[in-house]
Amino acid sequence: MATSAVSRPKGASAPGAEDLKKYLRQMVLIRRFEEKAGEAYSLGKIGGFCHLYIGQEAVAVGTIAALRSDDYLISAYREHGQALARGMTPRSVMAELFGKVTGCSRGKGGSMHLFDLKLGFMGGHGIVGGQIPLAAGMAFACKYRGTDQVVTCYFGEAAVNIGSFHEALNMASLWRLPAIFIIENNGYGMGTAVARASASLDLSHRAYSYEMANEVVDGQDVLTVRNAMEVAVARARIEKKPTLLEIRTYRYVGHSMSDAAHGTYRTKEEVEEFRKRDPIVLLRDRLMQEGQLDQAGYDALEKDVIAEVEDAIQFADSSPDPEPSELFTDVYAPGA
């Protein structure tokens, strides 16, 4: 299997300036949303585990830009970014983080378990690797029904060492399931650098064990991500073949709210170094250089985003908890 070169599939239109601005806004929204979520966590408004997406915005935005509205997505516990990029409102996501009944999962799921069936956003899963077979199963359903939907599955690079990755990718390739498996390689699984967990650093090459197409993608450039994803989506939708994408990115913040951004397993300098290729700055500068955006335009965009996030916080804060009786609902189907 050769790694396919990134070339735009026939019929796919190159993103225009408006698209790019949309991506920029989405990335800024995720960034500001996550910053606010971090604050709310410190204030005790959000509890449990909370894993922020700061630094990885281009992965969610770039990949989702290549999807259709009837496609399915599934992710791990670090999924706020993908949820927002998919179009879930900041209100419904923030309210979920606050545990409110207005949240996307009625306050019963929390940060790690965001769901929105209408948008095909199939969760937020907390067991490392657990969502990979689920993704293959949804892709199986697409094939079974003969639709041309595709399934996108996100997981961290540390998940490539767990059995479910192996089992699911083998079956996905064997059965030609329309799935795109995305390794979000942010360099670390908690405090463990890739090289301390994976016998081979070429994570995308694991696809060869399953004769699956694969590619390494620069995850800080949203357009590169989108391009690579378009190829993978076309392969799934038209050729009915899965792809493994290793998208290289970086998380600026700690693993979760209880983990420091640096100090234990990585240096401040390393984080600073990666921040130089910030996905938002890269796209903003590009748009500015191309004359598609000026400082005022960017400021307006940011202001708008901040207002939207602020509104989400207000909404979440003022929403009610679920009724006590909800403790016992949704264990089984209604009427069961």
């Binding site: 378990h113 969760g123 077979p133 689920l134």
Partner: protein
């Protein structure tokens, strides 16, 4: 009524539900070209083709998860575990995905899936292949657990399980596959989940059982009858949700109970039944409730030791006599 085997009854249930609903498919190791390791799926590949009767690699965690994923978007998978022993490898998907999706998603995502296959011991399969897992699955909110003991129950309950909108753990008895029994022939023969059945009426002692222990209880009841002791045999059929009403009604009549199960004693299904009876019918009990379980050891290979480790009618009779203070 036709007399068919438990295996044929399961096969009929699968065939009828596959015919009735395009969303139903069967997946597992050797289910298609090999007709099933225990031939439960005989002929189904031929009738329904490879998209609906799907052979898998040996990858329990993976294909259980694939089933759950398919169920999340509305298909109705029937996932066969060649035996429930191998499902230990897949248990994370059963417990952390299937059983919790509806709750975690605030009711959005259902999981209408059936996990099925033989459980418990057969003959001389030794420690890793002779285990009864019903108490584990019944511990988990979000799952239903069904264990038919007769061909009719096998058919009627499997049809219900496939139509159910929640994940069902359906544990068959490997030693029951060849058991014969009458099964109603009408197409819509359905037995609702959650209903126990009194398999023999009696007045002196209640024997509570499920799956393979149903026949053992019936045999014990016969032996007891020879001594003029009338045992009532209550077959749980569904372990979760437990039919507390039927159990308590029988104990209210007999005031004594023995609980049988194939598995190990510690925190087994029987412990829960005992808990139920003593907490809800304490004042009605004339004796402690006794349990008859498999020996508290890994299953030995040797035939004689294996026999000693298993529940049998003699042990059930002895327990019944003890609660009647006849021994």
């Amino acid at each position: 009524m036709a007399v068919i085997t438990y295996r044929e009854a399961l096969n009929q249930a699968l065939r009828e539900e596959l015919q009735r609903d395009q969303n139903v498919f069967l997946m597992g190791e050797e289910v298609a070209e090999y007709d099933g390791a225990y031939k439960v799926s005989r002929g189904l590949l031929k009738e329904f083709g490879p998209m609906r009767i799907v052979d898998t690699p040996i990858a329990e965690l993976g294909f259980a998860g694939i089933g759950v994923g398919a169920a999340m978007v509305g298909l109705r998978p029937v996932i066969e575990f060649m035996t429930w022993n191998f499902a230990l490898l897949a248990i994370d998907q059963v417990v952390n995905a299937a059983a919790k999706l509806r709750y975690m998603s605030g009711g959005q995502i259902g999981c209408p899936i059936v996990f099925r296959g033989p459980g418990g011991s057969a003959l001389q399969l030794a420690a890793q292949h002779s285990q009864a897992w019903e108490s584990w699955y019944a511990h988990i909110p979000g799952l239903k657990v069904v264990m038919p003991g007769t061909p009719a129950d096998a058919k009627g309950l499997l049809k219900s399980a496939i139509r159910d909108d929640d994940p069902v753990v359906f544990i068959e008895g490997e030693m029951l596959y060849n058991a014969k029994g009458e099964v109603p022939e009408q197409e819509e023969f359905i037995i609702p989940l959650g209903k126990a059945e009194v398999k023999r009426v009696g007045t002196h002692v209640t024997m509570i059982c499920h799956s393979k222990t149903v026949n053992i209880a019936l045999k014990a009841a016969e032996q007891l009858a020879a001594e003029s002791i009338e045992a009532e045999v209550v077959d749980l059929r569904t372990i979760r949700p437990l039919d507390t009403e039927t159990i308590l009604a029988s104990v209210a009549k007999t005031n004594r109970a023995v609980v049988l199960e194939e598995g190990w004693p510690f925190a087994g299904v029987g412990a829960q039944v005992v808990d139920l009876i003593q907490s809800e019918a304490f004042d009605l009990l004339d004796a402690p409730v006794l349990r008859v379980t498999g020996a508290d050891v890994p299953m030995p290979y040797n035939k004689q030791l294996e026999r000693l480790a298993k529940v049998d009618a003699a042990k059930a009779v002895a327990a019944a006599k003890r609660v009647l203070y006849l021994a």
